[in-house]
Symmetry: C2
Subunit: 332 residues, 2 copies
């Protein structure tokens, strides 16, 4: 039923080797043969079976991106960057979503183990450092956006600590001295911890005392931002500003603040992190820290493909430059 290289060879009156040569752009083939093969391909509507080709060549030229959710504009933008770079280098990018389930992630990783793809980039992962290090010995993997403490694996991310420091410093420069922190209750979320450290360092370097009362930690779910705001509003001395480690949390906080009669940007300054697309569509627009998504995507793909092709693997941690963006939610 399916037309194979043999059929093309027969139709063109040449051997399969010649057909293969034409298809793969080998120079050692006469103009005439080439012509005949092309006609046969056309006539039979032949499309080479890549299972055969990939099996033989032991490569697929496909990279799989695994992410917890596709409903995050940050990831979408990073993937666009990956795609751009991959195309230049002759690779295809496909993606899969785990829904933050480690079983699903593991299942998707089998595409790497069973050689269906040449490499994987993990946009946030549930694997721990030990597992990643073991994997990296036999396979080409990379982390993007979110590193893992102790993992000696190719990683591309912003300097979360410095980025948070810069964001909180921007709030301090606007005169805020009492700044609430909305974070994550986790020992493993390395970016969340780094952002918290950046917050703390900003306070310290500006001589502001670190008040344990001003921390709210839960998880990345939307509603947590609102709960944080409720908590802050309940304080006898409520903060004049809030730094949330994700835009979604910041947006939730902004909305809850309004319910409580506080207008973000006027009564309270609120700052997020990531610069998701929504930030610009909100009322008020959301101040935040931008990650250079496209650049991150391009970089991680370049490096990963180098690894795929090389014998010695580059397992460095690449830091890309962030950018604090001030919008309406922090006033003015």
């Amino acid at each position: 039923m399916s037309v194979t290289i043999k059929d093309v060879a027969r139709e063109a009156g040449v051997s399969v080797a010649t057909v293969s040569r034409v298809l793969n752009g080998s120079c050692n083939v006469s103009e005439e043969s080439s012509q005949k093969v092309c006609e046969a391909v056309e006539k039979l509507k032949y499309s080479p079976n890549f299972l055969g080709r990939n099996l033989r060549k032991r490569e697929t030229n496909v990279i799989l991106v695994i992410m917890p959710t596709s409903e995050h504009s940050l990831y979408s933008k990073i993937i666009m960057g990956m795609q751009k770079q991959a195309e230049k280098l002759g690779y295809d990018i496909i993606s899969a979503v785990t829904g933050s389930a480690s079983t699903v992630e593991a299942r998707q990783m089998t595409m790497l183990f069973n050689r269906t793809v040449d490499g994987v980039v993990l946009l946030g992962t549930l694997y721990d450092a030990e597992a990643l290090n073991r994997l990296a010995q036999n396979y080409d993997i990379a982390l993007c956006c979110e590193g893992v403490e102790g993992a000696n694996v190719l990683t591309v991310a912003v300097d979360d600590e410095q980025a948070a420091f810069d964001a909180v410093t921007a709030l301090i420069r606007k005169g805020h001295r009492r700044i609430g922190f909305v974070g994550i209750d986790s020992k493993t979320a390395i970016s969340a911890i780094a952002r918290e450290n950046g917050y703390r360092r900003a306070l310290k370097e500006h001589g502001i005392t670190d008040d344990p009362e001003l921390y709210y930690r839960e998880n990345y779910e939307y509603d947590c931002g609102g709960r944080a705001m409720e908590y802050f509003a309940s304080l006898k001395e409520r903060p004049s500003a809030v730094f949330a480690i994700s835009d979604l949390l910041a947006i939730s906080a902004i909305n809850k603040a309004r319910d409580l009669g506080l207008e973000a940007g006027k009564d309270i300054a609120i700052m997020g992190f990531d610069n998701i697309t929504m930030c610009d569509m909100m009322y008020p627009t959301v101040s935040t820290v931008e990650q250079p998504c496209e650049k991150m995507g391009e970089l991680v793909i370049s490096k990963l493909i180098s690894n795929i092709r090389a014998d010695i693997k580059d397992n460095r941690y690449y830091t890309v430059r962030h950018n604090v963006i001030m919008r309406e939610s922090t006033g003015n």
Copy 2:
């Protein structure tokens, strides 16, 4: 370097056939052999090469989802539904993003032609009916969310005409008689056209004259919603309500209305379509038409997999039930 089935066979002291049987759960294998094979697999950390397996079996058990953008919560949710159903049926879902470039879409489709995947579902496509019909003769494809006029291809979507009718009727029931329409300037976007038709029928059935002045058509870009609102506001007799065929357009319109001193839900009612996640996070929250995303994903995967396995293909157009959701942007 890579460990193969032969290595396992040697290690276990059995033939490759037996190893294969164990791996594929065949019953015709002794407890003892099975045990030995499992130990060898464990010891060698063997993972079967699916290129070999898939080549031999002529199937991959992978379905590719191609979409214009991954930055659309509608798509994310549909894919979650697909994944759920695919897992039940022993398939994996991978996805790829075209960025609305037909060249990219075509390239991604080659994964289907070259047998890297068993089937494709298109979440909106740039192919025309003729091309789709030709493709469907040789390959298993399905459309989801957005049908194509004249394409005899398995499709799952809401009844856009009826959904728009219901949405506009809801506005009319709230007392609006002058309702602006924000749509798309296209002859091929079947869902956009259907939604426009639904708008028109709602007016007609409620005895409202169809005023050509109340149409604004451009494209799906965010800013178009704002431009529509500027246009409506410039009218001598501006509409008291606006129906946009996408939530993004509605949100853009809401924001622009505010800039113009009009509060959505009070001074003007604004309604969207899709029920993207953002609707609930906006101020005001956005009234809209919900598509049953998860259900659509499950259905299209079930049907597509049936087609993959069957000789005669089901190319019907399946309609799923929508749901009008009234929130703050339409008042009360």
